[in-house]
Symmetry: C2
């Protein structure tokens, strides 16, 4: 009986934790990390402000976990896209397209993940997030070299370069939309910018011109 | 007489401020931003710990100013390099070479400027720093297009992409050296990596193959 009570308590605790995370994620997607204060998260999830600290030792820890949660989802989407098409160039085209399109459509979340000034605890998650993308791209570049579609190159250096290229070229447009966040957040994507990024990425890797 | 006393006081104040900044810069170059605590800066510059707060409202403000001070110097060096050589490809080659070489030789400072997790106040300076590099590269790309050496492209997008490429490809090697900072900080540069970065940069911009 005591065991079942503990189990029940644990489950409720897990549910509350999930609710707090989800509320924080929504706040970040709407207004960035700066908006995910303990008070706002508590209010959004309908718990007392103090409850947060029973689930996360401090606000940074909550925000870092939201960061992990949101980025895993983003990386999974790009991974799926990177398997579309036949050639390595097509894989890359789809991956870059989805990365940029998702960023521009969810500009506030993307800016928060890529560039919003955050505290060092969260910044460390950001470095991991970029390494996770680099790993994904490294596999892709490796296949492209094997298939003689891409130039010979150091795949680790080129993969990191590709992540940097995409993130930095998006920071300007995203920060603009981030500042404009009070307007309609469903801003249309920017097909011209996305095409530029695909072209730059293919060129970076020395991809054969498409037939 | 009263005026001259004020003048004297002002000058002494400016000197102390400069001494604090220089001490903080040295600490960052040796061990990163995390080491530039108020106590360490005070000790290094030979002032009482409380004195710092007469010159900077808080530690973040001091660190942000050190960031500006150090980055202006770095950008000036790359600017000088970007004027060497005859063609746009040569300008780019020199600029990328100097950027990467300086980063690898002063790995702790470079990692601190490019990627060390810092508080949001300093992170904002970092975004400005990256925009300053983008501006420098944008002029260079523009000349290369005019001279028909580089592909037609959106110079703002490509300049940001180039900054991202360089920063991100250096983060891995720099963070390794940053962690190894207790060893000799005069690590040799890495000519192989530098050459890779030059190749990637030229390819990114669609530079004509060298004659």
């Amino acid at each position: 009986m005591a065991y079942r009570e503990t189990e029940h308590t644990r489950q409720r605790k897990a549910e509350t934790r999930q609710r707090l995370l989800e509320a924080a994620r929504q706040l970040v997607a709407e207004q960035g990390f700066a908006a995910a204060t303990a008070a706002a998260v508590a209010q959004r999830s309908g718990v007392a402000a103090g409850t947060i600290y029973r689930h996360f030792p401090n606000k940074s820890e909550l925000v870092a976990e939201v960061f992990r949660y949101a980025t895993e989802h983003e990386i999974a989407q790009v991974k799926v896209a990177s398997e579309l098409g036949e050639s390595a160039s097509e894989h890359l085209h789809h991956a870059v397209h989805v990365f940029a399109q998702r960023a521009l459509q969810g500009a506030t979340l993307a800016y928060a993940l890529i560039a919003e000034p955050v505290d060092p605890r969260v910044e460390r998650e950001r470095l991991k997030y970029r390494f996770a993308y680099a790993e994904l791209f490294e596999d892709l570049i490796h296949s492209g070299i094997e298939a003689q579609e891409f130039s010979q190159q150091d795949t680790a250096v080129s993969a990191a370069a590709l992540v940097g290229l995409l993130a930095e070229a998006l920071v300007g447009p995203l920060s603009q939309r981030f500042r404009d966040q009070s307007r309609d957040s469903n801003t249309p994507d920017n097909p011209y910018l996305i095409e530029q990024l695909v072209t730059l990425s293919l060129r970076l890797l020395g991809a054969n011109p498409s037939p």
